[in-house]
């Protein structure tokens, strides 16, 4: 076949196929087929060099003509497509693959510790309810942690809290009640306070025990405050906190700075109070269906009197609960030691 004939054939098939292109994408395939690096036209031009010298001139001419013809046809075809509105089909047939499922840019935001998050969440609820936020010291004296709370030295109830002492007989606070006296002192009720603080218990750490824990205390003193107010207020908080109508149980308890003293139990959110998870004993509540949540009670008259408030005139309630436990229950965290490990595999999940 002569060179010119080949050129004519290519032209014919090229124009033919060009007419069949449907859009820019199929056009791109056509362009590759004929004008690409290994395209039919490109191959043809390369053959010129192998031709005998006398044929080269005519071949060059043919190639030029072909090139112009194809370029013109392509241009026209392109124009046609550009006048058409883009169709959704055309996007899905992009010749260059575009992966929409590839990950987005990584902004690498940091993460707040889960206890910080829980604290903020709880704090906000209490502030909405009208409580002022106070914070506890970490190291305090015997007077504020025990004595002002109706627990003279050697009082047996001190055994409720295994206590760290410093060498100069200061206390690492065992509970946020350590701030009660300071808040009550010299204040005219109504007093509505929550106290947030890092507390310490002299007990060895294992999967479910920590010597460092975070507490939120509530303290409400006014004229005519009664036991049902304690129950109602704490329930209100829990409902708000859990975003559901929680079930709560009360058990008698004893703390020298409240009278009566009670304990709030919450229905276990893991086993829904049944005590069983998939036929096994619920490990979160130990199978009882209830979680001990908070110690509470009506502020003992001695605590009020010690702070210069007349117990004949005022009454109040108080509670204390641990944030750590709430976080563990909420997320089903199996080991309390994660909290102070600083392990980013843990922190970055929250």
């Amino acid at each position: 076949m002569t060179f010119t004939k080949t050129a004519t054939q290519i032209k014919k098939s090229a124009l033919n196929e060009l007419a069949k292109t449907r859009d820019i994408n199929t056009l791109a395939f056509w362009r590759k087929e004929y004008l690409g690096k290994v395209g039919k036209f490109t191959k043809l031009t390369r053959q010129i060099a192998q031709l005998p010298a006398k044929e080269r001139a005519s071949a060059g001419k043919a190639v030029n003509e072909l090139k112009q013809a194809l370029a013109k046809a392509l241009q026209e075809r392109e124009k046609q497509f550009h006048e058409l509105p883009p169709s959704p089909v055309s996007r899905s047939q992009l010749s260059t693959f575009f992966d929409l499922t590839a990950p987005g840019a990584d902004f690498q935001l940091g993460h707040l510790h889960p206890i910080t998050q829980m604290r903020q969440y709880a704090e906000d609820i209490f502030v909405r309810m009208g409580f002022e936020v106070f914070e506890a010291r970490e190291v305090d004296d015997d007077y504020h942690n025990f004595e002002s709370l109706n627990m003279p030295p050697q009082h047996p109830a001190r055994d409720l809290w295994d206590t760290f002492w410093t060498e100069d007989e200061l206390v690492l606070i065992t509970h946020t009640s350590s701030m009660q006296h300071r808040i009550l002192l010299g204040q005219k009720p109504p007093i509505r306070a929550i106290i947030v603080g890092r507390c310490f218990r002299h007990e060895a750490t294992d999967a479910s025990h920590e010597h460092t824990l975070n507490q939120i205390e509530g303290l409400y003193v006014d004229k005519g405050i009664k036991l049902p107010d304690l129950i109602g207020t704490f329930k209100k908080f829990l409902d708000e906190f859990s975003q559901r109508d929680i079930k709560m149980k009360i058990q008698p308890s004893h703390f020298p700075f409240v009278e009566p003293g009670i304990e709030f139990l919450l229905d276990c959110a893991i086993c829904f109070g049944t005590g069983e998870v998939e036929g096994e004993r619920c490990s979160t509540c130990g199978g009882s269906g209830w979680l001990e949540l908070a110690g509470a009670g009506m502020v003992h008259p001695s605590v009020l009197a010690e702070a210069g408030l007349d117990p004949q005139k005022y009454s109040g309630f108080a509670w204390g609960f641990g944030l750590d436990r709430l976080v563990m229950v909420k997320y089903g965290i199996e080991n309390i030691r994660h909290f102070y490990s600083g392990d980013l595999r843990f922190i970055r999940q929250f």
């Binding site: 902004f107 910080t116 002492w165 036991l227 004893h254 009278e259 009566p260 980013l344």
Partner: protein, 738 residues
């Protein structure tokens, strides 16, 4: 605490509830009853005793039975043998002398016994209570304690030293003590020699220990005593630590034939102090330190004698001696029954409230006087309105020493009524908004900025130790020290967040190459001894990154600057310092704002990194004093109107010494640039030893000018720039590149 259902039933034959029902009721009305376990033909209830630190009466089956009786209106009588000790033996051969105010009562007697194994039922019972059977005498004392709550002790009487006649426990210190021991069994001649005055009686002395005294207790441990320890002594030396544990020497074993049986009562604080000092908790101390009823001593004594007679062939050899200087009497509390409604929120007929109290063994009388109330007017008004309701005068039996005030009685009514029947209410209050805590708000803001900058929050313990401090080249000599640390790792209270952050970094570097951490926590700074320490809060920032030191420093500095700006802290300066031991020399700066030191920043030195086991990664850290930040950010930055006039940028390049601080240059430009200079930004720094000189670098800056009043012309701006450059040349000695 373990309670046997069968023994409860022995007290309450009419009890028809199952062990599980009783447990459930105890949980609701007394203290959580964690489990009910079958043991032989008995059921053992496990009661959580942490809620009972005020109820020594409940550390016995009798006390629990009394509670159960109240719940089901069963009624429970007085203890089997109450009142004065029966005089069974008559021979006056026992002297008891109380020389300390911490012993309220001592009841004792000498018995001949036949020591053998206990009967099976008793052994089984003790096992069900978690106790090891020893012999009939010891087992019976334990049984009586578990049944009635009265701790008892039996001494081997033949090991007690009996002094010669004329010797007295309190005096005659220098007199050489002539002693003998009694023979076993007690020979007639021994008694005769005592009765006829040849020898003194058997002496039991309750006293404080003397300095230097010691005793080997029945657990085999040698214990050093001092005058805060109360002991039981014979004429010669201590034979028991009072109310806590007996001595090895006088222990009752199977060859003992003669015992002194002790049923005593000791002051709670003294017992607890000694027991915590010696680290020795026993069933006896647990009961005494909760203020056990001294009137129980005789119940325990008589019950024990009865059982010893039955199961150990006991015979009282001496008269029963009961030393009880100040008998505890019943007291009365006035209760205003109206408070059942106003304080407990329970709507209860008075008669029902009375029933609750009486079911617990309290006596309630309607008082005809109102003198007991603190607020007489209130009482009178109430009386007038309701036409009834005088106060109640409630008589409290001595076994309920925990009941002291009106609220205590209200608690009894509330728990018997059932807390779960009380319907919650919300307190009525005005619409006042609570005061906001500025510290909490600023801290939250800081934390949210830091997380936005990519810092993850970690928590470390407040505890530290010398070794870790030393690793960070910190001097821990003035750190507050714990008296009773849990481990050698946690003996001091931290004064820096850096060691904790470095530990956390090292841990995470095992898995991740680059990260940013922060912690918000307190330094505990001791003041004078015994005074409360300062607890300034700090923010610690750490970046672990593989990059040149310049980049690493700049990244952290940028974070610090951004954070402080966001918090509204203005005029921040970074000044080279050499005071921070854990940072690299020459790459550490003190951060100040408005003349307050607010922190420090720099690259952790190679040595410190090595100490913490951090290799192949570079770490920069910053510490900010949050207390200072709170003070400085109280003033919010003010708003400047957006100028409608265009800004004009001009660039300058200056040649400065390589070791000149850019901070100084920027400050100088800002000072000299005039009021229209809005922004100065460095965009290029380079060195060229050949053209600039080996000790020089070139710094190129964008200067942005803008006026809020008019459009500046390029000509005006050029003049300003020119002036600024001249000033820099004269003041800082830099050279402008033109």
């Amino acid at each position: 605490m373990k309670i046997s259902y069968n023994l409860i039933k022995e007290f309450l034959p009419k009890l028809s509830k199952t062990p599980e029902e009783v447990a459930a009721e105890l949980s609701i009305k007394l203290a959580e009853t964690e489990s009910v376990k079958k043991f032989g033909d008995d059921y053992i209830l496990e009661i959580e005793n942490k809620a009972l630190t005020h109820r020594p009466d409940c550390f016995s089956h009798w006390g629990i039975a009394r509670e159960v009786a109240a719940y089901y209106s069963l009624g429970i009588g007085a203890a089997p043998i109450l009142g004065v000790a029966p005089i069974l033996g008559v021979t006056p051969i026992l002297d008891i002398e109380i020389q300390t105010s911490s012993c309220f009562r001592y009841t004792g007697g000498i018995l001949e016994v036949n020591v053998t194994d206990s009967p099976d039922w008793l052994q089984l019972f003790l096992k069900s209570m978690g106790l090891r059977p020893i012999n009939n005498v010891v087992d019976i004392t334990n049984y009586v304690m578990l049944k009635f709550g009265q701790p008892l002790h039996a001494f081997n009487a033949c090991k007690l030293k009996v002094p010669a006649k004329g010797w007295s426990a309190s005096g005659g210190k220098n007199e050489k003590l002539k002693i003998k021991t009694l023979s076993e069994p007690l020979a007639k001649k021994d008694i005769e020699s005592m009765v006829n005055g040849q020898w003194s009686n058997v002496n039991v002395i309750v006293r404080q220990a003397r300095e230097g005294e010691e005793i080997i207790t029945i657990d085999g441990k040698n214990r050093q005593l001092n005058p805060t320890t109360m002991v039981i002594a014979d004429a010669e030396k201590p034979v028991a630590i009072a109310g806590i544990m007996g001595g090895k020497e006088t222990e009752v074993n199977d060859i003992t034939e003669l015992i002194v049986l002790e049923s005593a009562n000791f002051e709670m604080y003294s017992i607890r102090k000694t027991s915590s000092k010696l680290g020795l908790r026993t069933d006896a101390s647990t009961r005494f330190e909760k203020n056990q009823d001294p009137n129980l001593a005789v119940v325990g004594f008589n019950e024990s004698v009865k059982l010893l007679q039955e199961y150990a062939g006991a015979k009282l050899t001496s008269e029963v001696v009961d030393v009880y200087p100040q008998p505890r009497e019943e007291k009365a509390i006035v209760l205003n029954p109206e408070r059942v409604g106003t304080f407990l929120g329970i709507n209860l007929p008075d008669a029902r409230g009375k029933e609750y109290l009486e079911s617990l063994g309290l006596k309630v009388e309607t008082s005809t006087e109102t003198t007991h109330t603190h607020d007489e007017t209130r009482t009178k008004v109430r009386h007038y309105k309701q036409g009834k309701a005088f106060n109640w005068e409630v008589t409290i039996p001595t076994f309920r020493a925990d009941l002291n005030i009106e609220e205590d009685l209200l608690e009894e009514i509330a728990r018997l009524y059932g807390y779960n029947r009380i319907i919650g209410t919300l307190p009525v209050r005005d619409l006042t908004t609570p005061r906001l805590n500025q510290r909490v708000i600023v801290r939250r803001q800081a934390k949210s900025v830091l997380t936005a900058l990519g810092f993850d929050e970690v928590y470390s313990y407040s505890f530290t130790n010398e070794v870790i401090a030393q690793k960070a080249e910190l001097d821990a000599s003035n750190y507050l020290r714990l008296k009773n640390p849990l481990s050698s790792e946690h003996v001091l209270l931290r004064q820096s967040l850096i060691p904790g952050l470095l530990e956390k970094a090292q841990e995470n570097l095992k898995r991740i190459n680059e990260f940013k951490l922060f912690e918000c926590g307190r330094h505990i700074i001791p003041k004078a001894r015994g005074e409360l320490p300062d607890e300034p809060e700090h923010l610690g920032l750490l970046i672990a990154r593989n990059a040149g030191f310049q980049e690493r420093y700049i990244e952290l500095k940028g974070a610090v600057e951004y954070l402080l700006r966001k918090l509204g802290v203005e005029s921040i300066l970074f000044e080279l310092t050499d005071k921070i031991p854990y940072l690299t020399e020459n790459i550490q700066a003190a951060i100040t704002a408005k003349n307050s030191k607010i922190g420090q920043i720099g690259l952790v030195s190679d040595k410190v990194l090595q100490n913490f086991g951090i290799v192949d990664t570079q770490v920069s850290v910053a510490v900010l004093n949050f207390e200072e930040i709170i003070k400085l950010c109280e003033s919010r930055s003010e708003y400047l109107p957006v100028s409608p006039h265009p800004e004009i940028k001009q660039d300058i390049s200056v040649i400065v010494n390589k070791n000149d601080n850019l901070g100084n240059l920027l400050r100088a430009i800002k000072e000299e640039g005039g009021k229209f200079l809005q922004e100065v930004k460095i965009f290029d720094i380079f060195t060229d030893d050949y053209n600039l000189g080996v000790d020089k670098k070139s710094v190129s800056l964008h200067l942005t000018f803008q006026s809020s009043l008019s459009s500046l012309s390029h000509k005006e701006v050029s003049k300003l720039v020119e002036r600024t450059v001249k000033m820099l040349e004269t003041k800082l000695g830099v050279k402008a590149r033109r």
